[in-house]
């Protein structure tokens, strides 16, 4: 293993490219879409690290379940809290009242 396998070299280069892309998006003036674009690109980078560097792609399926559980429960916290924030309208003004 004097030289690293191609897939991790390519992943590394890909990650650096995604990083550059994320910085470029910041200056592109994407407006209110920019935060979502940043998070999507970051999620893509995280996916590369998880699947290639952390070898989730080759590991036992139980590893997927464990790694997934963390992200799934974080999503639960996020989505249900967002459910409150996004619907905090003036309820009295919405109905016939």
């Amino acid at each position: 293993m004097a030289r690293p396998p191609r897939r991790i070299v390519l992943s590394w280069l890909g990650l650096l490219a995604l990083l550059a892309g994320n910085v470029a998006v910041a200056y592109a003036g994407a407006g209110s879409l920019a935060p979502f674009a940043h998070v999507v690109i970051a999620a893509a980078m995280a996916a590369v690290v998880l699947v290639v560097f952390m070898e989730l792609g080759r590991g036992a399926s139980l590893f997927w379940v464990f790694a997934g559980a963390g992200f799934f429960w974080l999503a639960v916290l996020f989505v249900l809290t967002a459910g409150d924030y996004l619907t905090r309208v003036n309820f009295a003004a919405t109905g016939a009242g």
Binding site: G70, W73, L77, L80, T81, G83, D84, Y85, L86, T87
Partner: protein
């Protein structure tokens, strides 16, 4: 898994985990899950009585409407102490760290948990957290309540707040490590042939508990850390003077603290699912449903936290969703109760102390669960939340349910853990006394709450006195009843009869080891080929 085993008498020298090394160091540096369980038992017993003493002060103070025993500030500190100690130093660790630690490897047919060093570390973290928390609470006049609501806690509490929060943070690590150890062990250390559907329900329910410990506790830790930093810097993300939202704290806090209720009750349900079949001499009814209902409670239990916030200013739409999900989470609990009852049908039931506690659990938990439906009902909760109705409701679950289950477990596995039999009539007397003392203490609180008495009140209007006096009277009965086991169980350690390997004639791998078990649990790794609760069918 046969029912009858040779009753081996375990008092050959060096034969048990208790006699393998008798120095203090052999206990404090042990990696044996059974010894760690004993260390935990001693520690949480101490914390239980500290929390109980605080409860005694509360009930004494509320004997009179003016609250003359202590002043308002002291009262607030005392109920904060009661809440923090009972939640994090007793209820959350209670069954998992003691009986879970002791029994899970035995029930898995394993020699230890997956990470024994981590297990010991988790006990040290627990002790450290307990000392830090107590130092902050007793030395530092923290009076925020165990909920640490913002901006009261970071903006208006004394400096010791940070000490208490640090203690709970450390406590969280202990809880997470225990959970991690259980989850990994149950996945990886099951003996050959021990499939998931051959696991005792106690393992299922502790597995579900451990998942919550792993995934909810970190959010509490980080939330309390944000509060601590906000307290130190005078500015933070929950600070309304800087555009922060106090409700964000409540979301993050209850994301842990509601599932934490299931951390407290699920292991108790596991205990009851072991004891009812053992004393009914009958296979557990609906095993698959009882098993999966634990998982369902753990998962759906994560989706209901917003029901603590129906009047807190959360969105009306969010309240509709959280109320709906709260009704859904009640279903798996109902399933468990019906299955326990069905297990009794056509059984051959005997009524030793563990069974009395278990039956008491079912009744008290049912009352707690049914009043849970009341407070899940949106319009009802508007009136009842933050009153004694809610106090009564969660004490029925946590004290009536969880503490009863803890005592049930303590008596059921006492012969296994200590090698001694406890005095049966004393134990039955205590079980009955606890049941009646409990109801006398907490049932009046439902009425108080419905009448509108808010919780955390140091003084109250005179028309509420009758019910408060009744409640305090019940509390004195309850206190006496909780002290009783301390004496007769302690006595049995010296004078109790030697326990056989399987005094109850129960199934389960743990009963096939000698009482007390040897350090390595099993001389040879057992092979399992039968379902659990394999009690013989009656002859036609």
């Amino acid at each position: 898994m046969t029912v009858t085993t040779v009753a081996e008498l375990p008092h050959e020298r060096g034969g048990s985990y208790l006699t393998d090394g008798t120095t203090l160091a052999s206990w404090l540096l042990t990696r044996d899950h059974k010894r760690i369980a004993i260390l935990y038992t001693l520690t949480i017993t101490a914390f239980f009585f500290i929390g109980g003493a605080a409860a005694a002060v509360i009930r004494l103070n509320l004997l009179t409407p003016e609250g003359t025993l202590v002043d308002a500030e002291t009262y607030n500190r005392i109920f904060t102490l009661h809440g923090v100690v009972m939640v994090w130093l007793f209820l959350v660790p209670s069954i998992p760290t003691t009986f879970g630690n002791f029994l899970i490897p035995l029930m898995l047919g394993a020699k230890d948990l997956a990470f024994p060093r981590l297990n010991l570390l988790s006990w040290y973290l627990f002790v450290a957290s307990g000392l830090i928390v107590l130092a902050g609470l007793i030395g530092g006049s923290v009076d925020t309540g165990w909920t640490f609501y913002e901006p009261l806690s970071s903006g208006y509490a004394s400096g010791a707040l940070v000490v208490v929060l640090l203690g709970i943070f450390v406590n969280g690590f202990s809880s997470i490590l225990t959970g991690l150890n259980f989850v990994v062990s149950i996945h990886r250390l099951r003996a050959p042939g021990l499939t998931w559907y051959r696991l005792p329900i106690f393992c299922w329910s502790n597995y579900a508990t451990a998942v919550i410990m792993m995934l909810a506790t970190p959010v509490l830790a980080v939330t309390l850390m944000l509060v601590a930093v906000e307290h130190l810097w005078g500015v933070g993300v929950f600070d309304p003077t800087h555009g922060g939202d106090p409700l964000l704290f409540q979301h993050m806090f209850w994301f842990y603290s509601h599932p934490a209720v299931y951390i407290m009750i699920l292991p108790g349900m596991g205990v009851i699912s072991e004891i009812v079949p053992a004393f009914a001499r009958k296979r557990l009814f609906g095993y698959h449903f009882v098993a999966w209902s634990s998982v369902a409670i753990a998962v759906v239990g994560f989706l209901v936290w917003g029901h603590h916030m129906f009047v807190a200013g959360e969105s009306v739409y969010a309240a509709l969703v959280f109320s709906f999900l709260s009704f859904i989470v009640a279903v798996p609990s109902a399933i468990k109760v019906f299955n326990w009852l069905a297990t009794l049908h056509k059984g051959a039931i005997s009524f030793e102390a563990p069974m009395l506690y278990a039956l008491g659990f079912i009744l008290l938990f049912t009352i707690g669960g049914l009043t849970g439906l009341f407070v899940a009902t949106l319009a009802f909760d508007v009136h009842a939340t933050a009153t004694y109705f809610v106090v009564a409701h969660f004490h029925y679950i946590m004290v009536g349910g969880m503490v009863s289950a803890y005592f049930a477990a303590l008596h059921f596995w006492w012969p296994k853990a200590t090698g001694r039999l406890y005095p049966e009539s004393w134990a039955r007397f205590a079980a009955i006394l606890i049941f009646f003392g409990f109801n006398l203490t907490f049932f009046p609180q439902f009425i108080l709450g419905y009448l509108g008495m808010p919780r955390r009140y140091h003084a109250y209007p005179p028309e509420f006195q009758v019910w408060n006096v009744l409640s305090s009277a019940g509390a004195s009965v309850l206190a006496a009843a909780y002290l009783l086991p301390l004496f007769y169980l302690g006595w049995s350690l010296w004078r109790g009869a030697r326990a056989p390997a399987n005094p109850w004639g129960a199934t389960g791998l743990e009963w096939q080891t000698p009482s007390p078990p040897p350090s390595g649990n099993f001389a040879r790794t057992p092979r399992i080929s039968r379902p659990p609760y394999d009690y013989p069918e009656p002859a036609a």
